[in-house]
């Protein structure tokens, strides 16, 4: 089997072993889960290092045939199975998934109830996320998406704070709708591109293969797929993406979820699961319906700016660190929309950078505020203050994370923003000018929260508390290192994203 198959399979195998092996204690469960995801991380790094230079397509492809639906379409059979592979877009996202998941597991508190179940679901979600990014056909993609949905649901419900079941239901219903909308749109796109209007003839072979669909989109001269149909498909897809990605006004599940989920789950949901929507938009929207993305560019850009500002203002009003981080993430992902809407190399690459940057920073912020909560039993801004005295290291890293989030140069946030705005100003200058407000507001809400948390006279509840432990240093330092590394040497991920951008803009661009 190919490397990308094992990339997805490794955490899955760990999950299965967690279920079947007897007498697994907390440490053993965590160890097994970490090993599974660590294998994925190593595989991702191997693929990264050996990724063929200049390749704009999928590499490390692997397929498993499962069953055939006979005579599904004009007498041809529809093959159903699992297939995986990575390209310049999905490989960095897959690597980030394994990276953040490993750190979430390694940094998790040691006294979790039912650790076997906990690490089982955490491994399942990781496998699901890797499957989403590495899927090469729609069937695989949708199955993987469902795994992430149910896995996260159980993590929130079973391991969250008091009151989490309600939040979990909200999460499930929202993202369930998102899945349905995306399912409809994606099957429609497959039908449109490969079945009904294939370039090879009116009665093409219906295919759920993503490379085939991309290839058809590539050859499709505009006009074969009726614009109305394609436009409707994109709007349905956008609906799914908006819910999936927690874009305003379909976002309210996200702050609620983050408020109630525990720290590792928040890292995975905030850092990874809320990036799948953006991935879908890039892969299927930009990749397969480029003309429609351009056609609806203004709409997407305006929604992007609304998200930037709405998220930032809402974050300013929050009194709870977790809700603040949630809205900050929404604001950041608004910039992804603006970059995509611009349909330019800089805008698309900026959007991809922002996905990674927001992923790393969100995970880091959740981890650090989680560490603060472990000590003070609160993440309410009004109760905190003066933490710098008792925990200078945690406070210092929290500041770095905030600075990265507000886009300080030499962090990943900045390099994402400048590219996205270069794209934005090319195509939608007015919207981009308004969107700049996000740069100011992010400084306002983040530094306000920092001022309330680490500056000032030491709060009573923070007296005599200890600073970070070895368990906490590992995720903190590694996440911070990558935030800085990407900010200082952006070509690290830029060379892969650049290939993907070339591939995307090769189509109708």
């Amino acid at each position: 089997m190919s490397l990308s198959f094992w990339l997805v399979a490794a955490p899955l195998i760990a999950a299965v072993l967690l279920l079947v092996l007897p007498k697994m204690g907390g440490a053993a469960s965590r160890g097994l889960a970490i090993v599974g995801t660590l294998v994925s991380l190593v595989l991702a790094i191997v693929m990264w290092l050996s990724f063929p230079s200049g390749s704009t397509g999928f590499e490390f492809i692997g397929k498993i045939h499962w069953f055939t639906l006979p005579a599904m379409w004009h007498g041809t059979d529809l093959s159903v199975g699992l297939s995986f592979g990575v390209d310049g877009l999905s490989l960095p996202l897959a690597a980030m998934t394994a990276f953040i998941s490993v750190l979430a597991m390694a940094g998790a508190k040691r006294d979790i109830d039912r650790p076997r179940l906990y690490y089982f679901w955490l491994s399942m979600v990781t496998a699901g996320l890797l499957g989403v990014f590495a899927a090469l056909d729609l069937f695989t993609f949708l199955v993987a998406l469902e795994v992430t949905l149910f896995g996260s649901f159980f993590l929130i419900q079973l391991f969250g704070r008091p009151g989490s079941p309600k939040a979990a239901i909200k999460f499930l219903i929202y993202r369930g709708f998102a899945t349905v909308a995306m399912l409809v749109a994606l099957v429609g796109i497959a039908y449109g591109l490969t079945g009904a209007y294939s370039h090879s003839g009116i009665s093409g072979n219906l295919s759920f293969s993503i490379p085939t669909m991309l290839n058809e989109a590539h050859h499709l001269s505009s006009g074969i797929l009726p614009a109305g149909v394609a436009g409707a498909l994109l709007l349905v897809l956008l609906l799914g993406v908006f819910i999936e990605e927690a874009f305003v006004p379909f976002h309210t599940w996200l702050p609620t979820t983050h408020e109630y989920a525990d720290t590792p789950t928040n890292m995975v949901i905030g850092g990874l699961l809320t990036k799948t929507g953006a991935y879908v938009l890039l892969r299927f929207g930009v990749g397969m319906l480029p003309a429609q993305i351009q056609h609806y560019g203004m709409l997407i850009a305006v929604f992007g700016v609304i998200n930037i500002l709405y998220g930032a203002f809402a974050a300013w009003a929050q009194k709870d660190w977790r809700r603040l981080i949630a809205f900050g993430g929404i604001s950041h992902m608004g910039l992804v929309l603006l970059g995509i809407a611009s349909f330019s190399a800089a805008g698309l690459q900026g959007a991809m950078f922002m996905i990674v940057s927001s992923g790393l920073l969100t995970a880091l912020l959740f981890f650090l505020t989680g560490a603060i909560e472990d000590r003070t039993n609160t993440v309410q801004l009004k109760d905190l203050g003066g933490l710098s005295k008792a925990m200078p290291m945690i406070s210092g890293f929290l500041l770095v994370a905030a600075l990265g989030s507000l886009g300080l140069p030499l962090t990943s946030g900045f390099i994402s923003e400048i590219q996205a705005f270069i794209g934005g100003f090319t195509a939608y200058p007015a919207a981009s000018f308004v969107g700049l407000g996000g740069l100011i507001l992010s400084a306002v809400y983040l530094l306000y929260a920092i001022q309330k948390t680490t500056f000032g006279p030491t709060a009573k509840l923070a007296e005599g508390l200890s600073d970070a432990t070895a368990r906490e240093y590992l995720p903190t330092i590694l996440l911070t290192a990558f935030v800085l590394l990407i900010g200082i040497y952006p070509n690290l991920i830029g060379h892969l994203f650049g290939l993907s951008v070339q591939g995307l803009l090769g189509i109708g661009g």
């Binding site: 203002f313 300013w316 929050q318 003066g386 270069i422 100003f425 000032g456």
Partner: protein
């Protein structure tokens, strides 16, 4: 030599990393020693580079490295040493070295002494890297880095709530300007495909800047104004000046280095660095000149009445930066830079001397000082040198540069701006000597504070003396004595060999501005030294102007109410909409869903009658729809 220019910022970076490794418990002597020595080496290197650039003005001064590919464009990084940059390197490293030495005494026994030096080294690195940046993108990177260091150092005493607030305020207010600058840089990139100064200037010269939605002239004016927004924030110009006085919450060496000599001057440097862009737009230069003049005058009026010694000097800094902006706005390129240099020396001196006073009496209130001349002679006379330089009294440094600016303003046909500058000059002389007389002459106002007062150790005195020497003689660097050497040096950056306005010597104008300065000193002396009439009486007689000045034209109150308040209201509205409207609709939908679920539960009661009734009802609805549809009603 020039190829080694990267070493100048690199050495403070080495010091930073070294101190980071040493940790928070390192010995004070080691920490300060390493910092001073490495920065001093940077200073010596800078001197050699300064000379090398001057000797070979057309040599290669640019070194480029590839950073990131974006589509078919490339972001480069690297360094470039123009004449302007070389001068900045010398000024920054010299002041930094002296401040590093001074801080050894000033920060003695602070819990976080090593951290203070870490931040300062990081600042010096960033500032020097900013100066030799290859292009606007790189400049912006270090521009934000110096802003970060400023934030960290203003908030250095993090446990003080005022310091925490001031740090946040300084970052956010400058961020507003920086966002404009960010947009300006992005637009220049879109218009020229590059961040490089040279590419942009050549596009300006050929008139080929255009973006799809904006013409060449539109791009020039818009981007110049946007970049100027960044300079306005950084250099604390009206209307983004409100952060600088609050930034005085930081330790005084920080105020001397960052908030007087170097970082706040970066805004002036930026306008100078992009001078060809500004010159291509009358709208932009006029804006720069007026903003500068307004700031110069307004800040000097505020400084008249402040009671806090550091705040007076902070408003003075704003005012002097206003002069520099005004100079660049009227085209007096060389004199703006010249004043930047002299100001760096005499203002760092004034701040360090003030620091020496604060260190001795442990107060910043002018009305708790007095008579310190006897206890602190070195501080007194070095401060006097700085004050004379600031007041523009011949032959001190500030005289030459300020007089050049005023003459250039008048000679380039801006009489109104000239009078702005002249009134500000009068106020300047008055307020700085008000500080001098209140602090050093007369009788002590608070006995116990006076009792404890003493001069600092040599590490604090030596920097004062060195800076006092520069504050006295630096004006001669661009004077008839050396045939206006600095001017000629700076002009070598331009292909035409000159830039903007060149002043014609006018002894009458010089005498006039010195007279204005002396008049200000005389008035201060009559009020605070040999009181002919009391300041109290005068301030009561002029109560309304006094309050306006003392309350700083009410900018803080207005901004807090309108901008911060407005933003908070919007945030609260968004939060309300989010919780009660958007989420309310969601809750409503889920409630409806559960109600339907409950109702449907009752339909499943197993009674055939119920099922048939429902079926019949459904059929009726279908029939009704069919009738209406066919009948054309729907």
């Amino acid at each position: 030599m020039v190829q080694y220019a990267w070493l100048v910022p690199f050495l403070p970076l080495v010091a930073y990393v070294f101190l980071l490794v040493l940790g928070r418990k390192a010995a004070e002597g080691l920490v300060a020693g390493v910092s001073v020595i490495l920065t001093a080496v940077s200073f010596v290197l800078s001197l050699f580079i300064f000379q090398a650039v001057g000797n070979n003005p057309h040599g290669n001064n640019t070194y480029v490295f590839h950073w990131l590919t974006v589509g078919n464009r490339v972001f480069d990084v690297g360094f470039q040493v123009t004449h302007l940059n070389a001068l900045m390197l010398v000024v920054v490293t010299l002041v930094s070295t002296l401040v590093f030495l001074f801080s050894k005494g000033y920060m003695h026994k602070d819990d976080r002494f090593p951290v203070f030096y870490q931040y300062l080294n990081l600042f010096v690195f960033s500032m020097l890297a900013l100066v030799i940046s290859l292009n606007l993108l790189q400049l912006y990177i270090f521009w934000e880095m110096v802003g970060l260091c400023s934030y960290l150092l203003v908030g250095f005493w993090y446990f003080k709530p005022e310091a925490a607030l001031a740090a946040k305020k300084s970052f956010i207010v400058t961020r507003i300007g920086d966002t404009g600058m960010f947009a300006g840089i992005v637009l220049l990139f879109l218009a020229t495909g590059s961040f490089d100064y040279s590419t942009i200037f050549s596009a300006v010269a050929h008139g080929t800047l255009h973006i799809g939605w904006l013409s060449n002239n539109g791009v020039i004016t818009l981007t110049a104004l946007l970049i100027f927004a960044g300079a306005v924030g950084k250099s604390a110009q009206f209307p983004l000046h409100v952060w600088l006085p609050d930034a005085m919450e930081g330790p005084t060496p920080v105020s001397a280095l960052i908030h007087a000599a170097t970082m706040v001057a970066a805004g002036v440097y930026l306008v100078a660095r992009t001078f060809p862009l500004f010159q291509a737009s009358t709208g932009a230069t006029t804006t720069v000149a007026w903003i500068g003049a307004i700031t110069a005058l307004m800040a000097s009026l505020i400084a008249l009445t402040q009671r806090d010694i550091k705040r007076v000097i902070a408003y003075s800094t704003m005012s002097q930066l206003g002069y520099m902006m005004m100079a660049l706005g009227v085209g007096a390129y060389a004199y703006g830079i010249f004043h930047l240099m002299t100001h760096a020396f005499f203002k760092a001196l004034l701040f360090l001397a003030a620091g020496s006073v604060i260190h001795a009496v442990d107060t910043q209130d002018l009305f708790e000082m007095g008579g310190l001349r006897k206890k602190m002679p070195v501080t007194t006379y070095t401060f006097l040198a700085g004050a004379l330089a600031l007041a523009g009294i011949v032959p001190f440094a500030g005289f030459w540069s300020k007089d050049d600016i005023l003459s250039a303003t008048l000679q380039s046909g801006h009489p109104v701006l000239y009078w702005f500058g002249l009134i500000a000059a009068f106020c300047t002389a008055f307020y700085i000597f008000r500080v001098f007389f209140l602090t050093f002459t007369g009788k002590p106002r608070v006995e116990e504070k006076y009792e404890h007062a003493h001069e600092g150790s040599w590490v604090m005195k030596l920097p004062l003396v060195v800076l006092a020497v520069f504050a006295t003689i630096a004006g001669f660097f661009n004077s008839p004595v050396n045939h206006y050497g600095l001017e000629r040096y700076l002009f070598a950056d331009f292909a035409s060999g000159t830039a903007g306005v060149v002043v014609k010597e006018n002894v009458g104008l010089m005498a006039f501005s010195v007279a204005v300065g002396l008049l200000g000193i005389l008035l201060a002396a009559l009020m605070y030294w040999r009181p002919a009439f009391g300041g109290e009486k005068l301030s009561k007689a002029l109560s309304i102007p006094y309050i306006i000045s003392f309350r700083k034209f009410f900018f803080d109150e207005i901004y807090t109410f309108v901008i911060v308040g407005g933003g908070k209201v919007i945030a609260a509205i968004v939060d309300f909409v989010d919780r009660y409207i958007i989420d309310g609709i969601v809750s409503l939908l889920s409630w409806i869903g559960s109600v339907f679920g409950t109702m449907l539960k009752y339909t499943q009661d197993g009674q055939v009658q119920t099922y048939s009734a429902i079926a019949a009802f459904g059929v009726l609805i279908f029939i009704a729809i069919a009738v209406f549809t066919v009948g054309g009603v729907l």
